[in-house]
């Protein structure tokens, strides 16, 4: 006799769960099967806590260090954080009027913004699938508002296309969709796709292309009342006796293809930049400030770690109290969680396995910079109708981001006027990093006025940030490659006797707050398991 096994597909199984136990249970099941799971975050870490008093020394008061301290303290561990800077937050950093910072090399960055505008030097927008960040914002009471990642009114620009005139994102996108739909309809109608598409599907596809690309009855993409309703108007519908509406004219396919602007749209396809995105009201440091409020009693600022020594049952960290050249002191603990960026850690004396030491030294740190400019008025809103969002250009400034707060208000406002990272693969970020703060502002103005000529009349002051000139990070984020990960990642993240590393560099989401948080949560879970093994 053979037993007949019912081997349901995942969809059958979920349908069964849904019918029997309801939608909530089905969602839970989906999550555990990895369907609806959006990051590795599975809720607060639920630590068991130590069986007897245990001391944990955390190096670095960025989001990883503070999250580790917050959760371990709640679980009953005795924690202390040593932080090099005179502030908490690490690379989650917001520049506001009155801020001063002396870069490596001695140049002073000034920020003299007069209004409430700010520049987020590091992270500046949150994807909704970064579930850990959102959960901590909820738990710690950080108010979020929408971050407009895609504004169809914002610009795509190339100095070599359309006479240097910026084009609206929505126009380029809709025209490309219209032209491609027209071409595909043509190919279908000429039988060019008979091998690939059945007769029934052909009719459905043609019908769909007509709607999707806003094609006319003859399957062409031409200005019509229908395109007006999708692409907009040269003369918009008005009131009373105002002139008759007239649709805007699509741009020719060839001109669009040659402009390269189509390619600037591809960034919007990225899962990381899927709308809606969010940001904390008042600056990204609201998140790390919220953590700091929870752990401030255990943070010691101005402590420069110089050595991590391990014994069998303890770890001793030597630091200079007051920064480089300060009084040398020691702290001993049962465990050490080190969130110091690898670029800096590679220069310290660390007792650890050979494999971990090699991993620490193996990861290059990526180049990244930003320039913020304050203007007398919101000309991008008043003159160009751009409320929030980001414009993209082939110019070395790469992108201009408009504030997603204070819409239509009077008085000064701040643009994130230039930004790029090494991830983009462009050479520009190194060139910006080699400039003095004044040269960066001059460059952002000289380049940006090609997109917004109002720069000249409205400029008030500027500030900037170059991550390679920050002595506590020596770069922006761990620039992993697949090859480096294959060799080093596991050994970097494993507990080494009494030491474990955490931070964005110990994650598969480098440079994002979520990566730092997940790394910290995973590290403390493993420590807690080791403690209770």
């Amino acid at each position: 006799m053979t037993m007949r096994h019912f081997n349901p597909t995942r969809r059958q199984l979920l349908t069964m769960i849904g019918q029997v136990a309801g939608a909530a249970a089905m969602y839970q099941a989906m999550t555990s099967m990895g369907f609806a799971g959006e990051s590795g975050y599975a809720g607060p870490p639920n630590l068991q806590g130590p069986r007897t008093g245990r001391r944990v020394l955390i190096l670095g008061a960025g989001i990883a260090g503070m999250a580790a301290a917050y959760e371990m303290q709640r679980a009953g561990y005795d924690v202390k954080i040593l932080e090099y800077q005179d502030r908490t937050g690490g690379r989650c950093l917001t520049l506001r009027g009155g801020d001063r910072y002396t870069e490596m090399g001695g140049h002073e960055i000034t920020c003299d913004f007069q209004g409430d505008g700010y520049l987020n030097a590091g992270p500046w927008r949150l994807p909704v699938h970064h579930r850990a960040v959102f959960d901590y914002c909820r738990r710690l009471g950080v108010a979020l508002h929408p971050f407009i990642i895609k504004n169809n009114r914002a610009f795509l620009h190339s100095p070599n296309a359309f006479g240097g005139q910026p084009q609206r994102i929505g126009d380029v996108e809709k025209d490309m969709r219209g032209h491609v739909s027209e071409l595909l309809a043509k190919a279908l109608n000429q039988g060019g796709l008979d091998q690939a598409v059945t007769l029934e599907d052909r009719e459905k596809l043609l019908e769909g292309l007509k709607g999707w690309g806003v094609l006319n009855g003859d399957y062409t993409y031409r200005a019509s009342d229908a395109t007006g309703g999708v692409r907009g108007w040269d003369i918009p519908p008005g009131g009373g006796l105002m002139p008759e509406a007239s649709p805007s004219q699509p741009t020719d396919l060839s001109a669009l293809l040659q402009s390269g602007l189509w390619g600037q749209l591809f960034g919007f396809n990225s899962y990381s930049f899927e709308p809606p995105m969010f940001e904390p009201a008042g600056g990204m440091d609201a998140i790390t400030d919220a953590f700091a409020r929870e752990v401030e009693d255990v943070v010691q600022l101005n402590a420069r770690v110089i050595r991590i020594a391990q014994g069998d049952d303890s770890v001793t960290v030597t630091y200079e109290d007051g920064g480089r050249g300060g009084t040398v002191r020691e702290e001993t603990a049962d465990w050490c969680i080190c969130t110091i960026p690898l670029s800096v850690l590679a220069q310290l004396e660390v007792d650890c396995s050979d494999a971990m030491r090699k991993a620490i030294a193996a990861v290059p740190y990526a180049s990244a910079f930003k320039v913020g400019l304050e203007f007398r008025r919101r000309f991008w809103e008043e003159d160009d109708g751009i409320l929030g969002g980001v414009s993209y250009t082939d110019l070395p400034l790469v992108q201009i981001a408009y504030p997603n707060y204070g819409f239509l208000s009077e008085g000064p406002a701040v643009l994130q006027a230039a930004y790029d990272t090494a991830t983009g693969g462009r050479s520009f970020t190194y060139s910006w990093s080699s400039m003095t703060p004044q040269e960066r502002i001059d460059a952002a103005l000289a380049l940006g006025r090609q997109i917004h000529p109002q720069y000249d009349a409205e400029f008030l002051s500027g500030t900037s940030w170059v991550w390679h000139r920050v002595d506590w990070s020596l770069g922006c984020y761990g620039q992993w490659t697949d090859d480096l990960r294959d060799i080093h990642y596991r050994r970097l993240c494993e507990i080494d006797n009494r030491l474990v590393l955490a931070g964005e560099h110990c994650s598969h989401i480098p440079a994002w707050l979520e990566g730092s948080l997940l790394s910290a949560l995973d590290a403390i879970k493993r420590l807690d398991q080791r403690e209770n093994a």
Partner: protein, 147 residues
């Protein structure tokens, strides 16, 4: 006028780079200036002169005077650094990166790597007589870099 001052003047001088010869049709309006520090090609550095390459790459961390800088961590000095004795070491580091330093091999040609290597080794108090050739750089290049 010192070289440094001269350079900073040059850096804020704006040069029109859209030479009409490169355009099929001249743009309707002046597409404006680019700062000389930036490369013409976003994917690669386009400067060929060793000093210009130094100013737009190495200088970000090793600074105008090649003395590096120090804080929590340090960017090591190139000036007076005995490791500069080996042209192969320096060119290799530029090609492949070193510890926290990113690689530049994929953004510079053999000629460019040779040129910036020679610039560093004959300035900042250095006067090494042996120079690097593009062919020697090609020999140091890891296989995946050659394109």
């Amino acid at each position: 006028m010192t070289l440094k001052l001269l350079y900073s003047v040059a850096a804020i001088c704006l040069l029109a780079t859209n030479a009409p010869a490169q355009e099929a049709t001249p743009p309707a309006q002046d597409t404006g200036p680019r700062l000389t520090r930036f490369s013409e090609d976003p994917d690669r550095f386009t400067q060929t002169d060793g000093e210009a390459l130094y100013r737009t790459t190495c200088q970000a961390c090793h600074m105008e005077d090649a003395k590096g800088a120090m804080g929590a961590g340090a960017h090591p000095p190139l000036a007076g650094n005995p490791k500069m004795r080996s042209k192969h070491f320096l060119a290799g580091v530029i090609l492949t990166g070193y510890h926290g330093m990113p690689r530049f091999g994929h953004m510079m040609s053999d000629e460019q790597v040779a040129s910036v290597t020679n610039y560093v080794r004959s300035n900042f108090g250095h006067d090494y007589p042996d120079t690097m050739t593009a062919a020697e750089v090609a020999g140091l290049r890891p296989p995946e870099d050659s394109d």
